[in-house]
Symmetry: C2
Subunit: 151 residues, 2 copies
């Protein structure tokens, strides 16, 4: 496997574009996640806005965030709308697609890509709060109807 092939695969794995019925998904790094969460909420917004939003939880230098965001533009995760000297960023990937990417990556690594072993894992090894359980019950009752519809 040559470097360029691997590079191409690596890219495809990060952002899998729509091919027929296949869905969009993206894989973000830790820092990218933090930044995208702010962008999804405040877009279009400047890098400075993102920095201000993250100053408490992360305390990153402005240039740290700007660099990361510029790289995300190169990767196709963000786009720049220019107004005079100001760059406003907006997302090119949806939160749903990013979530899907992260979820699928986890599923593939830890559960060979299958939901059933993950569910078993949750059942046997993960507990949840009462509140979460109540909310889940509500969603599950809807799930019955939705899944019938889907399949």
């Amino acid at each position: 496997m040559s470097k360029s092939q691997e590079e191409k695969q690596s890219r495809d794995r990060k952002v899998v574009v729509k091919r027929g019925a296949q869905e969009n998904r993206a894989e973000l790094t830790e820092a990218e996640w933090e930044i995208m969460k702010v962008v999804w909420e405040k877009q279009p917004c400047a890098a400075g806005t993102v920095q201000e939003a993250l100053v408490k939880s992360k305390n990153w230098a402005y240039s740290t965030i700007k660099t990361t965001m510029d790289r995300m533009v190169e990767k196709g995760f963000l786009e720049i709308e220019r107004i005079r000297n100001l760059q406003l960023f907006h997302s090119s990937i949806s939160e749903v697609d990013a979530r899907r990417g992260e979820f699928r990556k986890m599923l593939k690594r830890a559960f060979n890509g299958a939901l059933t072993p993950m569910m078993q894992f949750l059942i046997e090894h993960e507990g949840i709060s009462k509140r979460e359980a109540a909310q889940l019950r509500e969603f599950v009752s809807r799930a019955g109807k939705k899944s019938e519809g889907k399949k």
Copy 2:
């Protein structure tokens, strides 16, 4: 945040040791996952065994795998049992802990650490089969009881 602090936090995040009732979990890279899956299945085993097992899916050079495994020893994920000149590796982390680490990382990044939005996401965006929905229901029905026990 100084470099050494960040380094310490980074380590703690990768392997969170047992503190009281808190659980074990680990975070593995892509290559580490591939290797651990083989080790869990064949341990104790030599690096060459791992390389042979992965030759079809990955075609990594022996030294690629050996290097990764040596680094994993340094990280505490693997341990070496020496028999003459031969090193047999066995895992220091369980598959459950690794799964938990990967799952929790995903949950934190994509769903702010909460199960409920993840389940909602699955139901609304991922499409689940009847069987999976049934497992979800089982999880929810057990959730009430288990969480009492765990918490």
